[in-house]
C-alpha cells in the first residue's frame, strides 16, 4: 500500500497496540503530526518532552503495555533523556519515536540536530536509526517486542524528517499481526528451583523480598499463595509496593533505608530470604556486608546479569518471577511453626507508632487520611524525596500497579506527568499525586495538560518550603548547615492552581485536610491541595547510609 513514511508510522503504532501517544510536535516531526490527524490512537499534548516520557512511563506501569511518546529532534530529544533514564532504571517498557533532521543534513550541525543515537546510548534498552522505509514495519515490531520482553525498558526509534515525507510501500499484512505478547521464560522444574523449594521447606524463618519484577511478570497472585503456603512474611522493595497486599497479615511493608522496622529486622534474622524480581538496590540492602548474613539468599531474576551483581546469593535462578513462584507453589510442603510469623508481628506491634514528631500536622497522618479518602484501586504516584518515603511508608498499596514512583533514578518532577499517564491508562480515572514543593515545581507546567484533558488528578503538595530530603541529611550528617535547601518560597499554590484554571485548597491541620478531602470528592477534573507541613519533619525510621538494615533510627533523637 502506497503511503508516506509518516502514515506508515501511524499504521505501525496502531498495529503494535498504541492507544495513547504522549508528545510535543516540532520541526522534524511535522509530517508525522500531520498524519496523526487520522490516527486511531489519541495523542496527548504535553508541555515538556520530559513530561511526555514520564506520562508514557506512568501509562505503562498501570497498563502493563509499552507506553508510547513522540518528540522532535535536538532539544526535544535531549529533554527526553531524563524520562528515558527514569524508565530504564525502573525497567519500564516504552517506545519513543524521535524526529531527526533530514538525512542529507545529518552530521552537518544542522538546526536542531543532536546525536540522538549517541546521546541516548546508555539510557535505552535498544535504539533504531531508520535510514530507509523498507524495514520500517520490522523496526516497529522489534521495538515494541524488545521494550516489553524479558526485563522491559525504553526503546528509541529515530526517524529523519525526509523519510517521514517520502512515499513508499507498506507491505500488506505487516499491520495485521498480533500485538507482541509477553512470553515468559521456560517454566517447570529446573534443578535450581527444586533446590529453592528444598531450602524453603527446610527453613525455620523464611521470608520473601518482592521487587518490581513481580508486577512486571504479573506474578502477584502466585506470590500471595506462595507466601501463605510457606507462611513466609513478605517485604517489598520500593518498586515492589503493590505486588503484595499491604494489609495482608504476612505483609511486612517496605524494606530498606526508610523501610519498616519489621521488614528490616526480618531481613536481618530470616534463615532463608527468597528475593524475587529485585536488583538489590543499595537503598534496599543497606550495607551489603551485613545483608542477609543469617540467611541463605535465593535470588530469582529474569536478568542474568543481576544475579551476584550486588549480593552474592546462596542460590541464583535466572527465571521469570511468575514461572518460578508458580512452580514453588505447586509443590507440596510442610506445616511450619508459627512462632516466626508471630515474631514479625510482635515487631510490627512494638514499632506501630510512626516515628514522627509529636503534635502537629504529620505527613504520615496526611498520607493515611488521603489513602482512606480513596478506593484502594486508585493509583498513587509519588514524587521523589521525603514525600516519596512518607507515601511509601503510609500508603498501603493493595493491588499491583497502584503505587508508582521513580525508584532507581530518583527523578524529582516525575509524579505530576506520570500521574497524567496513569490516569489515561485506567480510562481517565482518578489518580492521586503526592509531591513535595521542590519536585512539584520541576514539572509544574503539566498543570496545563491536566486542565486541557480534564484529568481527574488529585495533587497533594506536602509543602515544607525546603528541599526536604537533602535538608534532613544536612541536619543529621552536616551539623545542620542547610546549604541551599531551605527556600522559604512564598509561592501561593492555591493561586498558582487558579492561574491554570484548577481549583486549589490549602490546609495546615488534619481537620482542615478532612474538610478539603470531602470537597475534593466532588471535583471532576484536576484539583490541587497544598498541605503546609513543618520544615523540621524528617523521615523515620532511617538506616543511616552505610549501616546495616537492623540498625535503624526509629525516631528523631535516636542514635
Amino acid at each position: 500500500m502506497r503511503m508516506t513514511g509518516a502514515e506508515m508510522v501511524v499504521r505501525l503504532l496502531e498495529a503494535n497496540g498504541a492507544t495513547h501517544v504522549f508528545g510535543i510536535p516540532g520541526g522534524s516531526v511535522i509530517p508525522l503530526y500531520d498524519a496523526f490527524s487520522d490516527a486511531r490512537f489519541t495523542h496527548l499534548l504535553m508541555r515538556h518532552e520530559q513530561a511526555a516520557v514520564h506520562a508514557a512511563d506512568g501509562f505503562a506501569r498501570v497498563s502493563g503495555r509499552p507506553g508510547v511518546c513522540v518528540c522532535t529532534a535536538g532539544p526535544g530529544f535531549t529533554n527526553c533523556l531524563t524520562g528515558l533514564a527514569t524508565a530504564f532504571a525502573d525497567s519500564v517498557p516504552l517506545v519513543l519515536v524521535c524526529g531527526q533532521v533530514a538525512t542529507s543534513l545529518i552530521g552537518t550541525d544542522a538546526f536542531q540536530e543532536a546525536d540522538v543515537f549517541g546521546g541516548s546510548l546508555s539510557v535505552v534498552k535498544h535504539s533504531f536509526m531508520v535510514r530507509d522505509l523498507a524495514g520500517l514495519a520490522r523496526t516497529f515490531r522489534s521495538a515494541f517486542g524488545i521494550a516489553g520482553e524479558g526485563r522491559p525498558g525504553p526503546v528509541l526509534i529515530e526517524i529523519p524528517v525526509d523519510l517521514q515525507r517520502e512515499v513508499g510501500d507498506l507491505p500488506s499484512g505487516t499491520t495485521d499481526g498480533e500485538c507482541p505478547v509477553r512470553v515468559s521464560g521456560r517454566g517447570g522444574a529446573t534443578p535450581e528451583l527444586r533446590e529453592a523449594l528444598r531450602l524453603l521447606d527446610a527453613a525455620e524463618r523464611p521470608m520473601f523480598l518482592a521487587g518490581g519484577g513481580v508486577m512486571i511478570s504479573r506474578a502477584s497472585e502466585a506470590l500471595l499463595s506462595c507466601a501463605e503456603r510457606f507462611q513466609a512474611p513478605v517485604a517489598t522493595t520500593l518498586l515492589g509496593k503493590g505486588s503484595f497486599p499491604g494489609s495482608h497479615p504476612l505483609s511486612l511493608g517496605m524494606a530498606g533505608m526508610h523501610g519498616t522496622p519489621q521488614a528490616n529486622l526480618a531481613l536481618s534474622e530470616a534463615d532463608v530470604i527468597l528475593a524475587v524480581g529485585t536488583r538489590f538496590s543499595d537503598r534496599t540492602t543497606g550495607n551489603t556486608g551485613f545483608f542477609g548474613k543469617a540467611a541463605a539468599v535465593i535470588h530469582i531474576d529474569i536478568d542474568a546479569s543481576e544475579i551476584g551483581k550486588v549480593v552474592a546469593p546462596s542460590l541464583g535462578i535466572v527465571a521469570d518471577a511468575g514461572d518460578a513462584l508458580r512452580f514453588l507453589n505447586e509443590c507440596p510442603g510442610r506445616r511450619r511453626d508459627p512462632s516466626w510469623v508471630a515474631r514479625t508481628r510482635e515487631w510490627r506491634a512494638r514499632y506501630a507508632a510512626p516515628g514522627m514528631m509529636q503534635g502537629g500536622f504529620h505527613p504520615g497522618d496526611i498520607v493515611r487520611r488521603i489513602r482512606n479518602a480513596f478506593d484502594d484501586v486508585v493509583p498513587l504516584v509519588a514524587d521523589v524525596g521525603q514525600n516519596q518515603m512518607w507515601a511509601a511508608q503510609h500508603w498501603s498499596a493493595e493491588h499491583p500497579g497502584t503505587f508508582l514512583t521513580s525508584g532507581g533514578l530518583g527523578t524529582m518532577g516525575y509524579a505530576l506527568p506520570a500521574a497524567v499517564g496513569a490516569s489515561f491508562a485506567a480510562g481517565l480515572s482518578p489518580v492521586v499525586c503526592v509531591a513535595g514543593d521542590g519536585g512539584f515545581l520541576m514539572n509544574v507546567q503539566e498543570l496545563d495538560t491536566c486542565v486541557r484533558y480534564a484529568v481527574p488528578i488529585r495533587i497533594f503538595i506536602l509543602n515544607n518550603g525546603c528541599l526536604g530530603m537533602v535538608r534532613q541529611w544536612q541536619e543529621l550528617f552536616r551539623d545542620g548547615r542547610y546549604s541551599q535547601t531551605v527556600t522559604g518560597s512564598p509561592c501561593d499554590y492555591v493561586r498558582l492552581a487558579g492561574a491554570f484554571g484548577i481549583p486549589g485548597f490549602s490546609c495546615s491541620s488534619l481537620e482542615g485536610l478532612d474538610s478539603v478531602l470531602s470537597e475534593v470528592a466532588s471535583v471532576e477534573g484536576p484539583v490541587l491541595v497544598e498541605c503546609r507541613i513543618a520544615q523540621e519533619e524528617n523521615v523515620f525510621p532511617m538506616v543511616p547510609p552505610g549501616g546495616a538494615l537492623g540498625d535503624f533510627l526509629f525516631r528523631a533523637g535516636d542514635a
Partner: protein
C-alpha cells in the same frame, strides 16, 4: 598468558551502532579494554570482536552477562585460558639495516630502504613484546601492535563462525 586478563569473543551485528553499544556497555560497567580486534566472519552481516581486559573470572562472567543483553550481540564466549591459542602482531620500524638484527629474533622483513627497516613480529604476546624490547636498542622509529586473534586448540570448543 597473564591470568589477570580475560579475553571474550563476541559475535555481533556488523554495524557502527553495534560497535558503540558494545564498547559503551564495557565502559559503563567499568571494564577497561586493553586490546580489541574486529573482523568479519564467514557469515555476512556478522562480525567478531575479541576483547581483552583486566579482571578475574567473576569480572569475565559479569562482562559476558552484560554483553549478552545488548540486542546486537549474537553470542559471547570467554576464550581465556589454556584451551585457546592466541596470536598478536606488531609492525616495527627501526633506523637500522636488516642484516644488523640477530637472526635468532622471529622477525620478518617487510620493507627496507636506505634509512630504515619495517619488521613484522607475530606470535604469542610474550614473543611479540620481547621482539619489541630487543629492537629498542636499534632505535625504534614507530611500532604498532594488533590482536589478539584467538582460536580454540580443539575444534568445536568455540569460535569460528
Amino acid at each position: 598468558m597473564n591470568v589477570s586478563e580475560k579475553r571474550l569473543s563476541v559475535l555481533a551485528a556488523d554495524s557502527p551502532e553495534a560497535f558503540l553499544r558494545l564498547t559503551g556497555v564495557m565502559a559503563r560497567r567499568g571494564f577497561r579494554l586493553r586490546g580489541m580486534s574486529l573482523a568479519k566472519t564467514m557469515h555476512p552481516g556478522v562480525v567478531r570482536y575479541t576483547l581483552v581486559f583486566p579482571g578475574d573470572d567473576g569480572a569475565a562472567e559479569r562482562a559476558v552477562l552484560n554483553l549478552r543483553k545488548v540486542v546486537d550481540v549474537l553470542r559471547v564466549e570467554d576464550v581465556s585460558g589454556e584451551a585457546f591459542r592466541e596470536r598478536w602482531v606488531a609492525l616495527i620500524r627501526c633506523a637500522c639495516r636488516a642484516c644488523d638484527v640477530p637472526e635468532t629474533l622471529p622477525l620478518r622483513v617487510l620493507e627496507e630502504d636506505a634509512d630504515s627497516v619495517l619488521f613484522e613480529a607475530s606470535g604469542d604476546r610474550e614473543t611479540v613484546e620481547s621482539c619489541i624490547s630487543a629492537m629498542a636498542s636499534f632505535g625504534i622509529g614507530d611500532v604498532i601492535r594488533g590482536g589478539p586473534f584467538v582460536m580454540p586448540l580443539a575444534p568445536g570448543t568455540e569460535p569460528p563462525v
